[in-house]
Amino acid sequence: MRGRMTMETLKLTIDNKQVEVEKGTTILDAARGLGIDIPTLCHMHLHDLNIENKPGGCRICVVEVQGRKNLSPACITKCDEGAVIRTHSPRVMNARRTVMEFILSDHPKDCLICPKSGHCDLQDMANRLGIREIPGQDIAEMSTYRKDTSPSIIRDLDKCIMCRRCEMMCNEVQTVGALSGVNRGFMAVVAPAFEQNLEYSPCTYCGQCVAVCPTGALTEVDHTRDVLRAIVDPSKTVVVQTAPAVRAALGEEFGMKPGTLVTGKLVAALKELGFDYVFDTDFAADLTIMEEGTELLGRLGKYLKGDKDANIPILTSCCPGWVNFFEHNYPDLKDVPSTAKSPQQMFGAIAKSYFAEKINVRRQDMVVVSIMPCLAKKYESQRPEFSVDGNPDVDFSISTRELAHFIRQANIDFNNLPEMDFDRPLGESTGAAVIFGNTGGVIEAAVRTAYELYTGKKLSRLDFDELRGMEGVRQATIDFDGFPLNIGIAHGLGNARKLLDDVRAGRSKFHAIEIMACPGGCIGGGGQPLHHGDSSILKARAMAIYEEDKNKPVRVSHENQYIIQLYKEFLGEPNSEKAHHLLHTHYFDKKSKIIIKQ
């Protein structure tokens, strides 16, 4: 094999501009290098995550290559030496327009009321190509596929343009296998097996299909009206919690640069919207660390004594997409994940017990709303085990995108809001809790606390750079005062599968594993502002999260004064009986849940 030093290059001309590129480069990438933005629709490339979708299916990106009879799709055609390419000849522009007209001919024209309106790649493309009429649309047959509403995601396949991005995310990146292209010709759709509803498929509700859908075919279930109804009901005390990843992304919806932290404005907006108490899921993240960290140390103690049933490695359990994934795919390992509930659910359980008692409000009169970067959280909040006598611990979970809509509807000038602080007691949090939003963050937070509790010593450094980064699977060994703690990290469910297969086969050398379902962690969640294929946005959000951690006066969970108070006044010790009752859960074998519905 030759070294990478001798990279082969070739020269070509695009729109009369000379360019030299590495052999194997596509015309699309070569053109973009020259600042020529060839339009694309089905193509998507998340560079930093190594995720690419290029079925070459939509044909919007066709260009004219001199000497070739047919136009070539730029996204899948590799550059040839000496090629002369034109990206906007009359022939190309005509073809592009015709392709677009065909795509639009059977597409619903209800853009005015479509949930994707204003964020739709198809709408943008129609606008960019100046499509003002669609020949033959009066005779075009329209698809009338049934709408499928699950607890988290709505599928409206009449709006599907068969770009196959969702299919790629579901199968190649997440290895969930809920979706596939089925049927053929005009009847072709992307659907679960036997065209059942998503609910009866192995779908984890991670929402990565929604995050990449260019149209209104895949959207989240909108709960903003339910929240508004609760806010205006004078008999209800409405408590809101916001996840860490939300503050690092919400600003994008209001034109701010990706990576702008809007924590203070977010609190102000929620107060403006009329929530009675504005709290932070980060408080519950600190609580999670107390419970999960204690559980880790407990299992580790057994393991070091040679107990075979110690259940090492321990797996994190904060991510509901991940929980759904192992319930469907690894039910035989359901004793391995931590029994700690996710921060969202811990928050709900504490709000409706400890806090409700404190302010003397009956459970039924309290409504807990969560703002999440996530669509799986909607499903999680509806799990029957997370309710008391039919009253859920978390009543409604809305996404970052839904919150942005809500803020706009309420005439709130987000950009000019003052910075406000969370209410107490459930609004206090540490830097350890903030980093829950990034891949590697939960385990870093756990290490900070577990180290100090295990060794009885103060950490000399709090930044564990070896646990950070965007690589899909990472590993690190942290010295616990002579004991080498092996840590594994995976983000994206396909990467999680690799670590899980090792655990199942008894090959895993890790003591603790963190898994987040979404690429990048919660900052890349299915409920976040759409990245439209730009992975630098995810990186900017991750940086913002670490910045917030740095700026926090307290950066280890066990030093959160309000957490200490919560244990003193209410829970007793971490992993106490009361803590177990309120803050821990158990898992189910969902393999058999895949029902064939007639």
Binding site: V176, A178, S180, G181, A193, F194, E195, P202, I594, I596
Partner: protein, 160 residues
């Protein structure tokens, strides 16, 4: 989508596994595996597709995608007397479509379906090489030539 709920017996599962094994459980051989399996069961009900997916360690959605892409594969068991109407060029221009419509009307089923009593199923095919007899209808192994819509009732009566 229409499928009949069946309970797979142990020998059915064993047969599916045997077919998959004979192709080294290779997902790229899915089409051949489906072929062999349909040959054995006569059709590919949902449970059979799930068993194949599980054996090959691929998603059931992917198996279903292939089953629904190729018209040769069917999720409906064929009737006791499968009826095929040739829709090749010669038969078509001599009125095969009208004959097909008559069968649909008489049996109250569409192409690809089976009557609720399991007696007849309806399919269309392309050219049986008997263009001189157009339009041609096959019922099981028996061939009927120069069929007119008016003949349909009489043909069906033969099988009562």
């Amino acid at each position: 989508m229409s499928s009949i709920k069946i309970e797979l017996r142990k020998e059915d599962v064993d047969k599916i596994n045997e077919i998959c094994d004979s192709f080294n459980n290779e997902p790229l051989e899915l089409i051949n595996i489906l072929h062999k399996t349909q040959e054995h069961f006569g059709y590919l009900p949902a449970e059979v597709q799930e068993a194949i997916a599980s054996r090959l360690n691929i998603s059931t959605a992917r198996v279903y995608g292939v089953v629904t892409f190729y018209s040769f594969f069917t999720m409906t068991p064929k009737g006791k007397h499968p009826i095929s109407i040739c829709m090749g060029t010669a038969c078509y221009v001599r009125g095969a479509e009208k004959v097909l419509d008559e069968f649909k009307k008489e049996l109250s089923i569409q192409v690809g379906q089976t009557t609720p009593d399991g007696k007849f199923s309806l399919s269309s095919l392309r050219c049986v090489g008997a263009c001189g007899l157009a339009p041609v209808v096959l019922v099981g192994e028996k061939t009927y030539g120069r069929v007119a819509p008016d003949d349909v009732q009489a043909i069906l009566k033969e099988y009562e």
